[in-house]
């Protein structure tokens, strides 16, 4: 690949063209912002009333976890910030079974592909007897949706160590698939 000199990063950036439309409509950040506003609950405004309250878009469902087991998933999205609550019927040596796991992440948009990826990072204490031994586990959620389909698919990928979110996973990513309503 063509190399770019270190240190030139900021200098390379120059004001580009004014914002124009691109693939599939509005620029993705603007589209998310507008969608969040559109989906927010707006109380009727009259003289002297306070500004509208923006509420999170929520979605919950039970997904197949590595085919035989279940992941109960609750997602709450505010703009592109995501909160996830996940409960696994089986821990696979990397997570507690039937415990509520929480994490923060993002709603990542890929407008040129009409795809959304829900991500979250769940930091867990060590699981005895698991592949990470006495180390904490960093469990990464990556769940994609095409268009407005109810079907989602993806992974819960465990890494050994606290705040370790890439590398060689502790075990093969746990497969997650199923139907999850579009957050609203």
């Amino acid at each position: 690949m063509k190399s770019v000199a270190n240190g030139s990063a900021i200098q390379r950036l120059s004001p580009g063209a004014t914002m124009k439309q691109f693939s599939d409509g509005l620029p993705w950040k603007r589209s998310l912002l507008l969608a969040a506003v559109a989906l927010s609950v707006l109380p009727a405004c009259g003289d002297g009333e306070e500004s509208a309250e923006v509420t999170a878009r929520r979605s919950a469902g039970s997904l197949d976890l590595d085919i035989r087991d279940v992941a109960s998933v609750e997602l709450s999205a505010l703009d592109d910030a995501l909160s996830a609550k996940i409960r696994l019927s089986k821990g696979f040596g990397v997570a507690p079974q039937d415990a509520e796991l929480v994490g923060k992440g993002r709603v990542e948009s890929f407008p040129e592909a009409d795809l959304v990826l829900y991500t979250a990072k769940l930091s867990l204490e060590p699981t005895a007897g698991g592949p990470c031994g006495n180390e904490p586990v960093s469990l990464a959620l990556s769940l994609y949706r095409r268009g407005n389909a109810e079907r989602v698919g993806g992974a819960l990928t465990p890494y050994c160590g606290r705040d370790v979110w890439h590398g060689v996973p502790a075990r093969a990513p746990l497969r997650i698939t199923g139907k999850l309503p579009v957050p609203k």
Partner: protein, 590 residues
């Protein structure tokens, strides 16, 4: 007599032949092992019977203990024999982690020259369906695995499912490969049966016809080649059982002994039991390097298992989702390319992060995620790995953009640049009247086709396909083309050049093309370009008709789907520029 002996290598045993030239006899093998044979393990395969559920690592271990180790042990008993073992780099990592003694034995054989350990890629991925960078990253990972585990990487090249493409010739030298092993069926399907030459020219490299006997006698040199094994390596030591049938997938010493006897008999007949590498070394300076006919990219069991088996043709089990799996791979690839450009342009240190994403991506692009008969576990193995690769790629890209402080940026992987602001959208246009009468065959599923004029002579088609309440899973689109002898496409590993084939030079009636850049001609000056983020299917071409057919037999009937492709009128060179901008180095706004 001396001129007929490969004394330095101690290979050939010479017998007097009727022609007067001493016979050189070589017995070759290609044991194609695949640790991702059942990618993700057997969980869910026994639909109603969890007892057959064995997880990924257990199945991998069985492949090693029941089928791989016995073959290694057999050849370890015969230090004068040679064997060519092909495996993915990932398998070496697993051997090191869980079967170090087997790895040690393999290393000893390889360093002694008894085993040529061949590897094309780190994961057994469907590389011919993607831009060349995917294979290059995977091959680099495998080369690294071989180095880390101190196993010499063989100079021959054979890939998962016999995936072969002439474009490999352009990259082999730089990566230390010498000889392509082209599977015979992929050749004979394109040109009919043939008498194999001892060696072929393959660019500046060499090629042999895998699994095809050679009987060569030019009056000076007499060479015979026989293949003792050319198949999935898992099948020999288990008496022809594969890992899907786990109750029978067990080391069968009798089967190994029979094979051993076969080799011993051949040796008695004067055959040298040797590796592909040593055979080539023995003959390359003494035989002509024949010119092969023109060859399309494909897989080894064409026509029964043409590349469509991984790109749209349905297998045996429910849950297959070829287009979904392969488009996700294309999307993750594009994001990784953008992340690489962003990281490079901003100087952020993210090599380890990006490398881990590439590793997960190539694992997820495993062939078994969409063919030959993938079951749900394998499909979701591909999806899971690719989704995680996508997450990491996006995170790396986001970090790089944040590092720049620029907010919204336009990332151009071709220019390796990051520029403030949104990319000008060069791939969308205004709605326009139907430009080409494509035929959508979707049974009772609704379909709606809309067109945009992106630029004069460039049209974007978007086909929305509805659901079915009667199980209709097959969707096809026929794109009309003008029949001309010339058919233009690109080959795997050659993303910057088109190739023109002559239909009249082939014997097949139809052929499935993998379209690694998405491009195929519809006539002398018209091209179809798939947007691989929506349409990652094989293109069926025929010898006697200019139309192209895209078909997905695995489209879940409860789900809608969108297909997107472009029709371009112009030169092949400009069509390729467009294809590259769509699929190979896609500019993105982030």
């Amino acid at each position: 007599m001396r001129q007929y002996l490969s004394c330095a290598l101690g290979l050939a045993l010479c017998l007097l032949a009727g022609s007067g030239a001493a016979q050189e006899k070589y017995a070759l093998s290609m044991f194609h092992f695949n640790l991702q044979y059942v990618a993700g393990g057997m969980v869910g395969f026994g639909l109603e019977d969890p007892k057959v559920d064995l997880d990924n690592d257990v199945v991998e271990d069985l492949i090693i203990t029941e089928s791989f180790a016995p073959v290694v042990e057999l050849y370890a008993k015969h230090p004068d024999w040679g064997v060519t073992l092909e495996l993915q780099g990932y398998m070496l990592d697993v051997l090191a982690a869980r079967h170090p003694e087997v790895l040690k034995q393999l290393r000893a054989l390889a360093k002694a020259g008894s085993a040529e350990v061949v590897s094309c890629h780190y994961s057994d991925l469907l590389y011919i369906a993607y831009p060349g960078e995917v294979w290059k990253r995977s091959q680099s990972l495998t080369a690294d695995a071989f180095k880390r585990h101190d196993i010499p990487l063989g100079r021959s090249l054979f890939c998962q499912e016999g995936q072969s493409g002439v474009g490999l010739a352009s990259v082999m030298a730089s990566r230390g490969y010498e000889t392509m092993v082209w599977p015979k069926n992929l050749w004979s399907f394109q040109h009919g049966d043939f008498d194999a030459a001892p060696l072929y020219a393959f660019g500046d490299r060499l090629m042999i016809a895998g699994a095809k006997d050679v009987n060569f006698d030019d009056g000076t040199t007499n060479i015979q080649v026989r293949w003792t094994f050319f198949d999935d390596g898992e099948l020999l030591a288990t008496n022809d059982w594969n890992p899907y049938i786990l109750e029978n997938f067990k080391h069968d010493p009798k089967a190994v002994a029979e094979y051993e006897t076969k080799l011993t008999d051949l040796e008695t007949q004067g055959f040298s039991i040797t590796t592909v590498e040593k055979y080539v070394d023995a003959v390359k300076d003494r035989v002509p390097h024949a010119k092969p006919p023109p060859l399309f990219d494909g897989t080894w069991q064409t026509p029964s298992h043409n590349v469509g088996k991984w790109l749209g043709t349905r297998g045996l089990w429910p849950g297959e989702r070829d287009n979904d799996v392969r488009t996700l791979g294309a999307i993750a690839y594009r994001e990784l390319m953008a992340a690489e450009a962003a990281v490079s342009a901003t100087g952020l240190e993210a090599r380890a992060k990006l490398d881990s994403a590439w590793r997960l991506l190539v694992l997820g692009m495993v062939t078994d995620a969409s063919g030959i008969n993938p079951f749900r576990g394998e499909v979701e193995y591909g999806i899971a790995h690719q989704a995680e690769a996508l997450r990491i790629a996006r995170e790396a890209l986001r970090d790089a953009v944040a590092e720049s402080g620029a907010g919204l940026v336009c990332i151009d992987p071709a220019a390796q640049s990051v520029v403030k602001g949104v990319c000008e959208d060069k791939l969308r246009g205004a709605p326009t009247d139907v430009k080409l009468d494509v035929e959508v065959l979707s049974g009772n599923r609704s379909s709606e086709t809309s067109w945009e004029e992106v630029a004069p002579g460039t049209y974007r088609a978007q086909i929305e396909i509805g659901t079915s309440d009667s199980g209709q899973m097959e969707v096809s689109v026929r794109i009309p083309g003008e029949l001309s002898d010339a058919l233009i496409t690109t080959r795997a590993l050659e993303d910057t050049t088109t190739v023109s084939y002559k239909r009249s030079e082939f014997t097949f009636e139809e052929f499935h093309l993998p379209l690694p850049t998405g491009l195929v001609s519809l006539g002398p000056k018209r091209f179809l370009i798939l947007d691989q983020a929506y349409t990652r299917l094989a293109a069926r071409i025929t010898r006697d008709n200019g139309d192209v057919l895209l078909r997905d037999q695995t489209q879940n009937d409860e789900e809608t789907v969108r297909w997107v492709f472009y029709i371009f009128d112009g030169s092949a060179e400009d069509a390729l520029k467009l294809a590259r901008s769509i699929n190979v180095q896609r500019e993105v706004s982030r």
